[in-house]
């Protein structure tokens, strides 16, 4: 699926600097230590810019952002809503 592969590409390039060591769709970014406090905001900027979504603070939570699957579900939901 294009959405998931785009997210994966973003994560690998920006948080793993090209080192894709088998990043599973379910893996928690927090748990794997991939994302720090600014990383979340980088992810947020990516989502807002690439998919034209505006994320409200209440939605900026691990439940929506903390794995490839969660993020792709969130983006899908939001793009349908809009």
């Amino acid at each position: 699926m294009q959405l998931k592969s785009d997210i994966r590409k973003f994560i690998v390039e920006n948080f793993l600097y090209g080192k894709d060591d088998g990043l599973d769709d379910e893996v928690s970014f927090l748990g794997k230590g991939l994302i720090d406090s600014t990383g979340v905001l980088e992810l947020l900027a990516f989502v807002e810019e690439k998919y034209g979504i505006s994320v409200v603070d209440e939605e900026l939570i691990p439940e929506n952002f903390d794995s490839i699957n969660r993020l792709s579900n969130y983006i899908s939901r939001k793009t349908v809503d809009q």
Partner: protein
């Protein structure tokens, strides 16, 4: 303030060439451009590059005792030298100069190595005692002045800066992989390790003694956070602190040249400048850095204070490219990789001070360490609270009080903020609790290490080396004191007072002085009950209490903003810097073998494109560039002959004391 150098043959007499010492001091001439002196005896040679501040006519070094059996080369200031001199005169000592240096020689005659306990100052020195053939090298209590050494062919060579050791061709110039591992975790090496293999740094509060074929390093002072049993009221503590700071500021204004002060707009430099203005006759002359990027700029607060104190002020405005352009010079002086560019603006500031004819400045450095000002102390308290009270309704409120000054605050999302503050500390000794988040974050920059470097580091645990350096009984202190102790033993000497302190100031022959680091102030603050240093989440509580009627409320109440400078933007925005293109090229990265070229290229691409860049990426970029500069400058292109420099020393007021 000066540069010192020396060679000592460990196994008996062997002639020391003056040329050797001359090369060493020549390369330190930025530390002491006013004149040069040497002492050479059968197995020892001492060199000195002088910046004249006290006893301008008479204070040439090396200096000796009455019968010329004890010789010293000294870098620094002894602030209580007048009182010590009176005392020594009354005991029958004869002085031939009016310098603070000579005081140490006579104190040593009376007390031996215990002379250190009498000194109030910032220093590094070497004493040669001919009577018992003893070499005694010492450094001040907190590490304000530097001292490096190495052993080669039966000699110990020592100097204020590593580059002086490198003027001896036999000394190898290799970056130590373990040092990189430490710096990309702790921001500093763990002493005595330095960035270079086989080169050592004498730790703060220690001395090195060589006699009768033996050598030893001993600690003579340490921070002691054992609380005072005599508890006082807040008002009494505030009054005591104020008195002490007035006295240390007065003492540190002693000089035979005019003294200026840095003014950042924060509370610490406000305290120092205000005390100078209100309690001394010294004309207040101040200097500051401002930034064209508003995120870092503190001009508004600086202006308030300039107006309030009516000070004669100069400032330098820093742009991104200003920092990028001078960065190679900064690394020539730091002699170690750094993870932030913050030393660069201070390098430009010391230049401004010099251009205005000043040699000495007082600054507010040290206050955050001794009076608990840094965010890391607050963060520690918050993390402990969150762990203890998982259901408290105060959690969101407390989280919001952290990092309000950051444009991209990590607490924008509370759920995420909670996740970030929940750091797994199980792999570390419990007494490092406060610093683990910082180290874990910083350590992520090691993802850019090359396969070769990672291979060299396989099995190495830097925290084990740290545990050998730090005492293993920190648990005896309260949590805040534990955190302050670690900060004062690692980041303070290893970065704040060196890369961001001595080295960038002395680069332009400027001596920094730090009234908050008068050992009497430190000892007083360490003994305060922890809630007096940090009250709830109010940092530097007692300092603010003690100054509230002296300093404008807007400064007292302002939210602390740590001093920072633009990092990656300084290299990657605007006009391209030729050295950056070269250092970050795939070829150079591959040839030098420290970093993974592909990962670095992705990081650079990201930095150029991404609107937001986090601490980790910024630290990685500055760390990578500074490591490569260190390699380029010291490993690849170092001129051991430094002929030009030596000629300048000879032409320029060479003062041979005894050869």
């Amino acid at each position: 303030m000066c540069g010192i150098a020396g060679v000592f043959n460990l196994y008996g007499d062997r002639e020391i060439q003056k040329e050797t010492l001359r090369r060493m001091v020549a390369i330190l001439r930025h530390r002491g451009p006013d004149g040069y002196g040497f002492y050479i005896d059968k197995r020892i040679g001492l060199g000195h590059a002088r910046l004249s501040i006290i006893d301008l006519e008479g204070g040439w070094q090396p200096i000796h005792n009455e019968d010329k059996t004890i010789w010293i080369t000294f870098n620094g200031e002894i602030f209580n030298y007048r009182e010590l001199r009176v005392d020594l005169l009354s005991k029958g000592h004869e002085f031939y100069t009016k310098s603070d240096t000579e005081v140490i020689v006579h104190l040593y005659e009376d007390h031996g190595v215990d002379c250190l306990n009498y000194l109030n100052g910032q220093f590094a020195f070497a004493i040669w005692d001919r009577n018992i053939e003893r070499l005694f090298i010492a450094r001040d209590r907190v590490g304000i002045r530097p001292l490096f050494y190495t052993f080669i062919d039966g000699s110990i060579i020592f100097a204020s800066e590593i580059k002086a050791l490198f003027t001896d061709k036999r000394v190898k110039r290799e970056i130590d992989p373990l040092a990189l591992d430490q710096i990309f975790t702790f921001w500093t090496t763990i002493l005595p390790r330095t960035s270079f293999r086989g080169i050592f740094e004498l730790p703060a509060g220690h001395y090195l003694l060589i006699e009768s074929g033996n050598w030893k390093i001993k600690q003579y002072w340490d921070l002691d956070f054992t609380p005072d049993t005599n508890v006082k009221t807040d008002a009494e503590y505030a009054e005591d602190l104020r008195e002490l700071l007035i006295d240390s500021t007065k003492l540190q204004l002693r000089a035979d040249v005019p003294v200026g002060a840095y003014l950042s707009g924060g509370i610490d430099s406000s305290v120092i400048t205000t005390l100078i203005k209100k309690y001394t006759d010294t004309p207040l002359r101040t200097f500051s850095v401002t930034f064209s990027d508003e995120a870092y700029d503190e001009s508004d607060y600086q202006k308030q204070l300039i107006k309030y104190l009516n000070t004669d002020h100069s400032n330098i405005k820093c742009t991104y490219s200003d920092i990028g352009k001078v960065f190679p010079e900064v690394i020539w002086h730091t002699e170690k990789p750094i993870l932030r560019t913050a030393p660069a603006p201070l390098y430009l500031l010391s230049k401004l001070v010099r251009e205005n004819g000043y040699k000495v400045v007082l600054t507010g450095e040290g206050s955050d360490e001794v009076l608990a000002g840094y965010d890391i102390f607050k963060e520690t308290k918050v993390r402990r609270f969150l762990e203890k009270y998982p259901d408290s309704k105060l959690r969101p409120l407390i989280l919001k009080r952290l990092y309000p000054y950051l444009v991209n605050s990590p607490v924008r999302s509370l759920q995420y903020a909670e996740a970030f503050f929940k750091v797994d500390t199980t792999d570390y000794p419990a007494q490092y609790y406060s610093h683990i988040p910082r180290w874990v974050t910083t350590e992520k920059t090691k993802i850019f290490f090359s396969t070769k470097l990672k291979e060299e580091l396989r099995g190495y645990k830097n925290v084990d080396e740290l545990s050998l350096f730090l005492p293993d009984d920190l648990w005896k202190y309260d949590y805040l004191s534990q955190a302050q102790y670690i900060e004062a033993k690692t980041l303070l000497p290893g970065y704040i007072l060196s890369s961001q302190g001595d080295r960038v100031a002395m680069a332009h022959s400027i001596e920094g002085r730090f009234p908050f680091l008068d050992h009497r102030v430190i000892e007083f603050c360490c003994k305060l009950p922890p809630h007096i240093r940090m009250n709830a989440l109010k940092e530097k509580y007692i300092l603010k209490e003690s100054m509230k009627d002296l300093i404008p409320p807007s400064i007292i109440k302002r939210i602390k903003q740590p001093y920072m400078a633009p990092d990656s933007k300084s290299f990657l925005y605007g006009e391209s810097l030729h050295y950056i293109e070269e250092l970050l090229s795939e070829k150079y990265l591959r040839d030098t073998e420290y970093f993974d070229p592909r990962a670095v290229s992705m990081l650079i691409k990201k930095s150029r494109q991404s609107p937001i860049l986090g601490f980790k990426d910024n630290m990685a970029i500055v760390g990578i560039i500074s490591t490569l500069l260190l390699h380029h400058t010291f490993v690849e292109n170092f001129d051991t002959e430094s002929k030009e420099a030596v000629e300048r020393v000879i032409e320029n007021k060479e003062y041979a004391v005894k050869v």
